[in-house]
Symmetry: C2
Subunit: 262 residues, 2 copies
């Protein structure tokens, strides 16, 4: 089972998105896609006069921002991706964490900052795996928008990386799960200024060293922390690569950075 997360940079380019979806549709076996959409949401937010609210560099999801992301992630981006995958003979079904109650979450508690309608997922045990398995076993390919719900009637805005890793972990007891994070770089870089300096493989002890030495770029730390946490909970492998490298999975000659425990 391959779980792929794509971010905004792919969604912003119709040509790159189409090429990526064609590669994704070709992946054999059960698969699942998680997408972001922050840039498209920001662009529509601007047109709607919804100003991005940031506190200490982090986005706050107030009521009108929640409406915006529910529309853009759950509607526009999700359904466009589903329609395009259908045209590529991939039987996609668009979902949020509210649908079939697959990802119940809770509003992030207010400590120093009130993040508004931001949803945190307790962990893989809270995932409704049975419903998700029914969908996968029916031959369908789930496409998840980065949205969850609070089970009290409200949608919540949840980080797409988090959704990808929690679903991967929840499905790990049933499937051999490979988690792929597609992002704007070719992999984890030794030198963040040099795109050719991709580190081909990082295991848990090397990650500890790289983090201690400050080699891993600050923005990458949460992604890699998430990845190693997922592997500790049963995910077989994590690959960090650019979207164009997805087909390398079929050849086994991975392009990008592979992560493993040992």
């Amino acid at each position: 089972m391959i779980i792929v997360k794509i971010g905004g940079n792919i969604l912003d380019s119709p040509e790159r998105l189409q090429a990526f979806l064609a590669d994704f549709a070709q992946l054999p076996g059960p698969k699942l896609l998680v997408h972001g959409g922050g840039k498209i949401a920001s662009a529509f937010g601007q047109r709607l006069g919804i100003e991005p609210k940031m506190v200490e560099g982090r986005r706050i999801t107030d009521a009108e921002t929640l409406e915006l992301v529910t529309m853009v992630y759950g509607g526009l981006v999700n359904k466009q991706v589903v329609a395009r995958l259908q045209a590529l003979y991939c039987n996609a079904i668009g979902l949020t964490g509210a649908d079939a109650n697959i990802i119940p979450a809770h509003k992030r508690p207010v400590r120093t900052i009130d993040y508004g309608f931001a949803g945190d997922v307790a962990g893989p045990d809270s995932i409704n795996v049975a419903a998700l398995e029914t969908i996968i076993e029916a031959g369908l390919t789930p496409v998840f928008a980065p949205l969850t719900h609070d089970t009290q009637g409200s949608m919540l805005n949840t980080n797409a990386d988090t959704i990808a890793s929690v679903l991967a972990t929840a499905l790990a007891p049933k499937y051999k799960v490979q988690l792929v994070y597609c992002f704007e770089k070719k992999g984890v870089l030794q030198d963040s200024e040099n795109d050719a300096s991709v580190i081909p493989h990082i295991n848990a002890s090397k990650y500890k060293t790289l983090k201690a030495e400050g080699v891993v770029h600050a923005g990458m730390v949460p992604k890699l922390d998430n990845a190693f946490a997922a592997m500790q909970q049963g995910v077989a492998q994590v690959l960090i690569c650019e979207a164009e490298a997805l087909t390398s999975i079929n050849t086994g000659h991975y392009s990008g950075t592979t992560l493993s425990m040992n």
Copy 2:
């Protein structure tokens, strides 16, 4: 199996919507909801500077209007309804016709008017009943937005009444289907100016007479034509009522207008 269609007037009122969804969640047995959302789409369209395009009184779905309705119907309205039903212990799953390829459609051919991205459904035989049955048999309650796809990669805007009737007809061989259209009046009125003049029952021959006499209001004719066509193809019964009358289904003392062939 009960298939209920709700229109914009309920979606516009948070209190009426909440009361309706509570009633819907209480309906026993398998059920399915189809919603509209035209007024909410128009309001967001105005904020986005997307002018409604009308030709001969009918709405045209150009490219930016398609984006708008995909966001509003497939995202905002659909996921808000799903999240609220989940809070009412109804295990809802939001869908469009693109998801699991349940409702393939085709762009309406251009004759005198180019309706743009308006989707027509060939008929109940084109519905992917197997995928829909899998979802229903898993104990899930499908919630459909009025969107389909062209199987070539594009979403299409499709009338919610049409989606309700084509799904009802497609499911009729498997389930005893009751189709309920909730709208702004208490039922089909003998006198369109008098809300108390609900006609309690109309059969096929009475409908012919009412139509010939011009008693049935022009706006009702497509709805009733659809309803009788669905019954001719196996739907057991059609009820036309206001949203608040939904609970009358549980008592058997229907409030509104029941339609049947004989």
